[in-house]
């Protein structure tokens, strides 16, 4: 009889554990990570100090003076088996993008490489519904899954240093919106006036794991119309 491999608990030193639900990028695996995150925040386990959901695992920081590894492991596994769901409705963001030209300097490169027209690449990019799997790498940087494999493109060999905030990019089979200025090895296809990270805004980060994202094309002339009121482009849907 084979023992199910997941979920499993791995030590990260003496003050954190990783609860793994798989080793793939997958909606269901990610949903279970987020469900454990919600469950842990609801039970308020003494000693648990911070949790960090990622693609396929939940990192749980704890104070070993308050709770030991064995007890936390048992409690986490019990909660992981409950498959509890968040009460929060799934949020669907609609993000305006100016595609191509100086806004997306790699759009033509991608079109040439995948054998589609620029308009077709934009159409495929806008047709998808993307899932926010996790935030990481930089403040507010959301990894989006759900890109059409027809417009997937491996990362650049050399990253560029200063991607402007709002840069909409493709890296492998993932999509992203640049949150703060910084390096990017992904291909830049457009830019949005939406600020997914703003230090003094509540919320600081617009996109959260489990959210859905769609993109729609706007013209460069419409940039100012959309800038500054981007938080309006969210629709709520009950999961």
């Amino acid at each position: 009889m084979s023992v199910p491999k997941y979920p499993r608990v791995l030590p990260c030193g003496d003050a954190a554990i990783t609860v793994e639900f798989g080793d793939i990028i997958d909606d269901e695996v990610n949903a279970r990570v987020l469900a454990l995150d919600v469950a842990l925040s609801e039970v308020r386990l003494p000693g648990v100090t911070e949790t960090v959901p990622t693609y396929r695992s939940l990192l749980v920081h704890y104070d070993p003076i308050v709770i030991g590894f064995d007890e936390l492991k048992a409690r986490a596994l019990a909660l992981a088996g409950e498959r509890r769901r968040s009460n929060r409705p799934t949020r669907r963001w609609r993000i305006p993008v100016v595609y191509g030209a100086e806004y997306g300097i790699d759009l033509e490169f991608i079109a040439n490489n995948v054998g589609l027209s620029v308009d077709e690449v934009v159409a495929f990019h806008c047709a998808g519904t993307y899932r926010v799997f996790m935030l990481g790498f930089m403040p507010g940087f959301a990894y989006l899954g759900g890109l059409d494999p027809l417009i997937a493109m491996p990362r650049r060999r050399e990253p560029r240093q200063n991607a402007p905030p709002g840069t909409v990019s493709i890296g492998g089979i993932q999509a992203a919106v640049q949150s703060v200025p910084g390096p990017s090895g992904w291909h830049w296809i457009g830019r949005t006036p939406l600020r997914v990270y703003a230090r003094d805004r509540e919320p600081m980060c617009l996109l959260e794991p489990g959210d859905h994202v769609q993109f729609f094309a706007i013209s460069a002339e419409e940039w100012d119309t959309y800038a500054g009121r981007c938080e309006q482009f969210v629709e709520y849907e009950v999961a």
Partner: protein, 340 residues
């Protein structure tokens, strides 16, 4: 305004224990590289172990006191401390008058010193911390490492206090202890043995984000890409080239290289103090053992204030005492007493 003016910043930033709770949003916690030494500096000044201080890296640095007298204490990496040219000691409080220049030499041993001040740094916390996270624009009083001309607001010294010191034994020259994992199954058994046997050298490309270790290349058993997961302080990632990268205070919150082992909490500060070019070996311990040591370490941190002693002025300090204008202070001390 009382405080310190930065004359030569070296590699200096304001740090406390770090900013926690926002790692899920991709914000690095930052914080002191050596929390034990930060706690020593604060214990000397009878304040909370994690109060913010100026963290000073291995290069020389100079500050000047402006606006009034402050009481300072330097702990952590040993270096020459000159107060207007007169030598002062590590792990000792010092009343320093307005206009005085505080010059710190390059570290003799170690990487980071902590310059704490009585009352802490007078700047607002952001999400519970003053620590600097550059990408997220967090940090107080500046959202970046310190530069020439910056002003660090402090509190005026309480003049009536006697100066304090603490005697610390040198940290042991023992291996840095690790718990294997979380991805030790991504390496051959022989690779893990090599990792534990090799004497590693801290690479010159190391910084507050991570220390790179030079030694032998470590072979991955299942490739060097994992689906990215969370990173803690002390995680040892192994890069595609087989080089260990020890993730430290300014680490990214997630990473895609397999992590062969994790440094235990009690040894993080001792590891961060290994200078560039310095050697290090690792020793494997169980999670249970690591947690026993963590409890011991926590007790040791809590016991620091009880080890602080009052210093008696000696003849050799007379020059310093004269310059500190003790007569004027005595008047102030009487005035304080009269008000009570």
């Amino acid at each position: 305004m009382i405080g310190l003016r930065v004359i030569d910043p070296g590699y200096m930033s304001v740090q406390d224990a770090g900013r926690f709770g926002a790692q899920r949003y991709g914000l690095s916690p930052a914080g002191a590289m050596d929390l034990f030494s930060l706690a020593v500096a604060n214990a000397l000044l009878r304040q909370k172990a994690a109060s913010a201080a100026v963290e000073i890296g291995p290069f020389p640095a100079t500050l000047s006191v402006v606006g009034g007298p402050v009481r300072l204490a330097l702990a952590g990496a040993d270096r020459k401390i000159l107060i207007d040219g007169d030598e002062a000691k590590l792990n000792t409080t010092l009343l320093v008058q307005e206009g005085t220049k505080v010059s710190l030499g390059a570290t003799r041993l170690g990487m980071f010193s902590y310059l704490a001040s009585e009352g802490g740094i007078d700047a607002p916390a952001q999400l519970g911390s003053l620590s600097v996270e550059v990408r997220a624009s967090f940090g107080s009083p500046y959202p970046r490492p310190l530069r020439e001309g910056d002003f660090i607001p402090l509190h005026a010294a309480s003049l009536a206090h006697a100066e304090q010191y603490i005697a610390l034994e040198a940290p042991p020259h023992a291996p840095i202890r690790v718990v294997l994992g979380p991805q030790d199954d991504y390496f051959y058994k022989e690779t893990i043995e090599s990792f534990l046997r090799c004497r590693w050298t801290v690479s010159p490309t190391s910084n507050r984000m991570s220390y790179r270790l030079d030694g032998e290349a470590l072979a991955h058993a299942k490739g060097y890409n994992i689906v990215s997961d969370g990173i803690v302080m002390g995680h040892i990632q192994v890069s595609g080239a087989g080089q260990p990268l020890v993730m430290l205070a300014d680490r990214g919150t997630t990473g895609g290289y397999p992590k062969i082992a994790t440094i235990i909490t009690a040894d993080l500060g001792r590891f961060a103090q290994i200078p560039i070019g310095g050697g290090v070996t690792f020793e494997k311990v169980s999670v249970d053992e690591a947690q026993r040591v963590a409890r011991e370490f926590s007790r040791e941190m809590q016991a620091l204030p009880s080890r602080v002693r009052t210093q008696n002025a000696t003849i050799s300090d007379s020059k310093l005492l004269l310059r500190l204008n003790l007569a004027g202070d005595a008047v102030d001390a009487l005035a304080d007493a009269a008000e009570q």
